[in-house]
Subunit: 190 residues, 2 copies
DNA sequence: TTAATTTATTGACCTAGGTCAAATGTCAGA
DNA sequence: TCTGACATTTGACCTAGGTCAATAAATTAA
């Protein structure tokens, strides 16, 4: 109950849903739990769920040609998301989705998500907001990669996402910032 | 007339609009022309239009701290787009929009665009597609920046966008690929 | 056509940050 | 509590690609 209320709060923050709409939406989300270090979506699998993270941490990442992890997106508590590229197009996923901590979520299936998209105009506007935010996020990411040094990216993260630094390992942080782990370690010691 | 037909063709390719809907949409798009090397949107201006490029080339770019141009997105003929971040949120734009060639477009205003978004469900789905494509594009961009060398990015562009290489100057291509102009010149001569 | 401006090429040099390897620290499971 | 698997730190070294500068070539304007 607690979980679903948090989600409803997030939803109404984004779109002005009616009570009736919220009820329909709530009925689509199912609680799930994942243990720390569990892979939720493998490469080449099609991503069939969209998540509200109530507690814990989900993250998407892909592997480069040498097999190193490259973190794309991190969802801490009260965030929503999924392996979006795969989810949108029902494509085999290039990226993995995993739980970095013991994590409790609410999940909506692809079919429910797109049924709501057709039947519930406000859900369509909700999805529109999600996409707009996802786009802006990627846009910012590109600007940072292109314009900031490793050190500047790290310092920006400290300012803008101090909770990431606290909760995540160097390994994850460095792969998120596109810095070698050794370089991050050196940056921290200065 | 030719122009509007091309646009209608593109629209129906993306969403199954009815004749009546297409008529409403068509009435929102106004023809415009830009001379080569004209800035259409300055930094800090709010982007108030969305474009269908019928002929020519539009491009968005921003300036890094040293004042060098960094090209974000290039629209050749029969493409659609705008300075999306600013357009979406009505924010002062971080990026410029300019015409790299003499360019003919059809433009829809922000107010018409969002009126259609409210009144015409199929337009909402069209906008959804746009956002999904924009997201995927950025996603791919990030993967390329992170995983490919300068040479590999250039070779990929030759394969996937040979028309870019033909029509655009080294200066534009290099800023699009995030490579120094000198480096691109060296890559080409090998 | 010519001058002026912009763009492209080439060489010499430099550096941020990557790579490799060894030592040390940390923590989950038995 | 111990052990094996990871994570982190540190040093030594390397390199892709950037920077700076000087021509050369191509466009543009007049």
């Amino acid at each position: 109950m607690e979980r679903i209320n948090s989600l409803m709060q997030l939803l109404t923050y984004l779109v002005n849903f009616s009570e009736a709409e919220l009820e329909i939406i709530a009925s689509c989300f199912k609680p799930k739990s994942f243990n720390r270090n569990t892979i939720i979506l493998e490469r080449e699998e099609v991503c069939k769920e969209f998540y509200f993270v109530y507690k814990g941490c989900l993250r998407t990442y892909f592997l480069d040609i040498e097999g190193r992890e490259r973190t794309r997106y991190i969802m801490l508590d009260f965030n929503i998301g999924t392996a979006l590229s795969s989810f949108i197009y029902e494509n085999p996923s290039f990226e993995y989705l995993d739980a970095l901590e013991d994590t409790e979520v609410l999940a909506i299936s692809y079919s429910d998500f797109y049924r709501l998209n057709k039947e519930l105009p406000n859900w369509t506007f909700f999805y529109q907001k999600i996409l707009e935010m996802a786009y802006s996020f990627q846009n910012k990411r590109i600007e940072d990669l292109i314009m900031l040094s490793a050190k500047e990216r790290y310092e920006q993260l400290i300012k803008e996402r101090p909770e990431f630094i606290k909760r995540l390992s160097n390994k994850i942080i460095s792969s998120y910032l596109d810095i070698a782990q050794e370089t991050l370690s050196r940056l921290k010691s200065k």
